[in-house]
């Protein structure tokens, strides 16, 4: 087989993967080398969380707006948007609801979609409010213990037990 770019025999057989479809290239050593060392622009890290966050937050947000956004906190787990931005990890399932407006463009940027189409759990979280209540109550109980308010902590513990037993 001849090289696709000259008359020398093709010794390199390169399969290019573009758009998921393989494309065959047959080249001599010289042309293959040139082809393989062609300067190609590195893909921007669009899929990485940091890259996506930077891209999302760069869109027309003033410092003031960003500061306000950063201070928003989840009422259930207490995490602020700033903490999420810094650590890249959310604090509880409710964050997806309370930061919905901020997260949607980010999720769209990472996945290109906003609607789950896969498997669903057999046991659905029947009473979502109850479950987020549990997260909130456990957090409040911890705060009560830290603040040495044992009476309140004990009330909260009873409340947690009640919810756990009824679910």
């Amino acid at each position: 087989m001849k090289c696709q770019r000259c008359d020398k025999p093709a010794t390199f057989h390169i399969t290019e993967l573009t758009g998921g479809k393989p494309q065959e290239l047959h080249l001599c050593e010289q042309h293959a080398r040139a082809y393989l060392t062609e300067s190609e622009q590195e893909q921007p890290g669009g899929q990485s969380l940091a890259g996506a966050l930077a891209q999302q937050l760069a869109v027309g947000q003033t410092a003031e707006e960003l500061a306000r956004l950063d201070q928003q906190a989840c009422p259930i787990c207490g995490i602020t948007f700033f903490e999420f931005r810094k650590e890249g990890r959310l604090g509880c399932p409710h964050d997806y609801v309370c930061f919905q407006k901020e997260l949607e463009p980010l999720i769209l940027n990472i996945h290109g979609e906003l609607q789950h189409v896969g498997k669903r759990p057999q046991r659905s979280p029947a009473n979502t409010d109850r479950q987020t209540d549990l997260i909130r109550l456990r957090r409040e109980m911890k705060e009560a213990i830290t603040g040495e308010d044992y009476e309140r902590a004990s009330k909260l513990r009873d409340e947690i037990r009640q919810i756990e037993q009824s679910s």
Binding site: P22, R89, C92, P93, K119, A126, I135, R138
Partner: protein, 362 residues
Amino acid sequence: MNVDFTSLARTSGEWLRGAGPEADIVMSSRIRLARNLADFPFISRANPGDRTEIERVLRERIVAIGDLGPLSFVDVNKLVALDRQFLVERQLISREHSEGDGPRGVVIAENEQISLMINEEDHLRIQVIQSGLNLQNAWETINRVDDLVEKQITYAFNEHLGYLTACPTNVGTGMRVSVMLHLPALVITRQIDKLFRSLQKISLAVRGLYGEGSQAMGDFYQISNQITLGRSEADLVKQVGDVIPTIIDYERKAREFLVRESHENLHDRVSRAYGILRTAQTISSEETMHLLSSVRMGVNLGLIHDLEIPTVNKLFIYTQPAHLQKITGGELDTADRNIERARYLRRLLNKEERGGDGVNQN
């Protein structure tokens, strides 16, 4: 039931078997699912009490599942660093899980195909790993494990976003499909970077042997999906699975090219690598990986005739620091490890010798 590390150190996990389709190039197929309990904060906001409770709930309910065969629970928090590293080398826990803190553990099924990490980045990470190119089988297995766990536990799930995870990069299916490929000829012919760029364009990630941030050691590359939302699990399996035959073909063509156009150099490379591994008196982990890669390719190309792929696969894992220390019985510093590693390699590789110098002269 507790894991006996001494006996684990003598066995080799199912993914090292060197069996399964395309095992000359595909080392293993792995799928993991990220799951969280609906009524606890994610790990980053969970206090030690929450984590203890999450660990207890998940451990008790998983171990109670009868259909998964014999299960062992390892309390990762109580392990010494060497044992944690051993589990990482064995791919039973992630590096993050090993280096984390607080209550955390892993449930391991008998043949090491299934492991369930508790309190990693998410409350639960289910993993199935199999030898060779076996994605469909891995998916069927992990789906069944997930169904069994789901009967016991209410997962954090949202109608729109699917399974909710600590990091938005995993939301939706929570699924990462990975195939570990041995691509020495693409490295030698310097085509590997080009392959990476092509894969990035179709939203596939390429990483080293031990996942995110790890260097590609011994020419092993892990290819996995980046997107987890908006596609079904079957689609994700297909997305990764569809591209693998093309990469295998690409590697085979590069090997054929080397055999045809550069046979002497290739044979020399393989023979020297085998020679050094069988005679060295001290050798680093890095050099071992590098040389074993050439030897593995040499075995697959018929240039080495007295060595089997499962032995080579095993050597990749057993010459790493934690495994080496486990089999030679105790903690060793780097210099002593290098001596023990060389001794171990000489013993295993020369024992397999069946006459001649082991290198095919044809």
